[in-house]
Symmetry: C2
């Protein structure tokens, strides 16, 4: 079936190379049995799948470099992979047959508390960083929903966000520098161990490049203080429109919450069925609002937010009474995608962005796309960022319904661009949105980006077939057709 | 005298091109008389000077594009220039003979308060942005000391910092996208009007590229709320060591002040002589500490900071009683460099960075460099960032003393690198630090950067002869020798 397409890796991996790689990473670091390789056939994006011909799991930067150098000599491209929790097919093993997975590189090389930074290897799990530095009152801020599984290397590839992006910024704002293996096996260090801005900002280019420039093997991460106090609130509304108006009102009042998340009726029902948190299942929408900072200021800010919620029609506003209630609330939010599995045999999560003020319009467009294509669509998203996540429910056994789900998703992304937004907030382009990239960028914009990529990867060996709809680079053209506009 | 060297522009500007450019920008937009051109012979960095052959001041992006296109056809490179307040010679008219100055492009194209962003042309003065949005409770955060003169275009070229960098980040953290004229005259739009991270982060590469990729003509800037409350404090210490220990203690306590600035005895004496603020001239060092945020939390935080200051030996801690006192305190800080003019016929401000915890060591190294070279050196700097600004006092009429001043500056920069820091925190490389760049980057790092530059400017027409010690790019080599280290 087309919507669960098996994609060919198309490039053969010579057996001599497989032997050479095995010698580098050791028997424990090689996955070659068909059943074991099937684990690597997709990431969180499951519409396309491709079983790699070989997966290697190096233990060190030197091993990554040796693996990549051997592949370079053999003319074989590779796919970098972290924990495989991406949602746009960025680590799909196609057309490259070789997956280089950094998940065994789990050491934290240095912790420098006075200067608030840590050097981790790429395979360190996101949540592990904060676990290590929390006793010193510090944290690594970016917190994707998959933070208990996803790795620092994957976070850098995708420039991951999370609920706390609104106040604290995304991965690129917290990465001071990276160690990276280039596609010919050379090891470079980009950025700096301190936040000095010396030279061109190449670290920023690598963050979000989805592995198309090389394999990040280690990173220097910025740490920030744990807030003195945190207040987490739940506001319940009869309609999505009231909830989005409240989001705008909170921001307009000069409050920047640490997180400002919305779930609509469909999602609340799914979450409640799965976790029994106590959400009112007749609510049209709920907001999870978290504020943090100096403890002395929190009560006044919370009171102000509560007043704004009620002014804009909230039926109820509750505060988490203690850390346990707060943790339960976040668990319900972070597991919302999983809970949706109860509603429908299949679902497809979209990721788009609109300016915060256009949220009511995009939500209306999502609703009408659902009606037009006869589909249920739930919404759970980072409202403060204008980063929407419509979840299109369908049954993959019904080919017509699956086709309508895909069409609805594409229409919603086009509407995001039309409203001044874009086709991805945090999940990347991968293979899923290569065509949609053309909604925001002209051929010449894309050619400029590909020329930058070619600086790192002139032969297209690192994760080819991702991000760019056409593989070639066009050196002659340059003038993008995209204009600045609010 | 070598230390005030007149540099040749070395490339001739054909008179036919001069006429063509005049037709594009109009008579008011051309500076060609020798006396008028002399105004453009240097920026804040005065050790080298070069009188341009022609300065043009276009009024629009279309005019910038037409000017650059004409120069491209004539084979003449150009120097982009904002207000000329840079401190490292980044807009020195050498070897390129043509200066393209964006200071007449002063319009604010759009103000979008609900989504907190503004599109300004490159010539808008930094302080003007906040002046326009302040009635709505918003501000543009980056605040270089020259903010009443410097322009947004120049800030982007230098990726400018300021006292409030510690809490809020530098220019690149507040620029969502740029409109830029490439060296062949094509207009590109990089980044996006919203903060979505779509595609490679090319805006980040342009921020801090010192005009070596093209001419930024407009930018979409992020606005943030004015803090509800601000408390500004002055702490007085007998020794610099006590003051730096206090800086570390404040950060270690989990407090991130909006600003944390230090001035030593030499600078305090100069500032007091100039402005009579009331600083105790027998103090070894003073700290200016500013905290902002929710009003309810400020008093407790200020009390905590005061206690930390006293624990670490502060002789006195004062709080600005009102906005007038606060403004006077900042005026004294921001004009410190000017006040130094009273102390010495000439001075050279250095700019380096060390990890915050190494401040005591670098200050000792600065002191010993001063003693060894028989020079007075004052210190005024962004202590919270570890961004030092030693001011080496000398008399330019004394050739031997000038040579010693230059040597001391170079030794201090080398010490910064040795202590894990770098040779510039915020003033850029320009022409001043091209040689020092090699202290942090190997030839292959530099080649990688030059290849990225070549994507935008393959023929080296935009501000050639800046940043990179050797002009050529080396496509064969790539492995930098720099290693990640804390």
């Amino acid at each position: 079936m087309w919507y669960r397409r098996a994609v060919s890796t198309s490039i053969a991996l010579p057996s001599a190379l497989a032997r050479e790689l095995g010698a580098i990473v050791g028997a424990e670091g090689v996955v070659s049995a068909p059943a074991a390789l099937a684990v690597y056939e997709c990431d969180g994006y499951t519409l396309e799948r491709a079983v790699p011909q070989l997966v290697v799991l190096p233990r060190s930067t030197a091993e990554v470099a040796a693996v990549v150098r051997a592949a370079w000599r053999a003319g074989v491209p590779f796919v970098p992979r972290g924990a495989g929790t991406g949602l746009s097919g960025g680590c799909l093993a196609a057309p490259a047959p070789l997956v280089v997975c950094t998940s065994r590189m789990r050491s934290i090389r240095a912790v420098d508390l006075p200067n608030r930074r840590v050097i981790t290897e790429a395979g360190v799990v996101n949540a592990e960083v904060t676990r290590v530095v929390r006793p010193a009152g510090l944290q690594y801020v970016p917190d994707p929903s998959s933070q208990n599984a996803c790795t620092i290397g994957g976070n850098i590839a995708e420039n991951s966000g999370g609920p706390h992006t609104l106040k604290y910024g995304v991965t690129t704002n917290h990465v001071l520098g990276v160690e990276m293996v280039l596609p010919d096996g050379e090891v470079v260090t980009l950025g700096d161990a301190i936040d000095d801005g010396l030279g061109y900002d190449l670290t920023g280019v690598v963050c979000g490049a989805e592995g198309t420039m090389g394999i990040v093997t280690a990173a220097t991460l910025r740490l920030v203080s744990l807030p003195e106090g945190v207040t987490t609130m739940l506001a319940i509304f009869a309609t999505v429109a009231e909830a989005t108006a409240t989001v705008s009102a909170i921001i307009a009042a000069g409050i920047v919450p640490a997180a400002l998340e919305m779930m609509d009726r469909t999602i609340v029902a799914a979450v409640e069925a799965a976790y029994r948190f106590g959400f009112p299942t007749d609510a049209g929408a709920v907001l999870i609002i978290e504020i943090d900072g100096a403890a002395a200021g929190l009560a006044a800010t919370a009171a102000c937010i509560e007043a704004l919620c009620r002014t804009h029609g909230a039926e109820d506003v509750r505060r988490a009474a203690d850390e346990a209630e707060r943790a339960a609330l976040w668990k319900s939010r972070k597991r919302a995608f999983g809970a949706v599995g109860r509603l429908s045999p299949s679902y497809c999560t979209q990721d788009g962005v609109v300016p915060r003020t256009r949220l009511p319009e995009i939500l209306a467009r999502i609703e009408s796309a659902g009606a037009r294509h006869r589909l249920r669509i739930g919404n759970v998203f980072h409202a403060g960022d204008g980063n929407i996540h419509p979840i299109v429910l369908y049954d993959e056994r019904d080919v017509d319904e699956a086709a309508r789900a895909l069409a609805a998703g594409r229409e919603i992304l086009a509407a995001c661009v039309e409203l001044g937004g874009s086709v991805t907030g945090e999940h990347g382009i991968g293979v899923e949105k290569m065509q949609e990239l053309g909604l925001s960028f002209g051929p010449d914009d894309l050619a400029l980006m590909q020329r930058v990529r070619a600086v790192f990867d002139p032969e297209g060996r690192a994760n080819p077939g991702k991000i760019f709809p056409t593989p070639g680079i066009c050196v002659e053209q340059r003038a993008p057709r995209r204009q600045a506009a609010l």
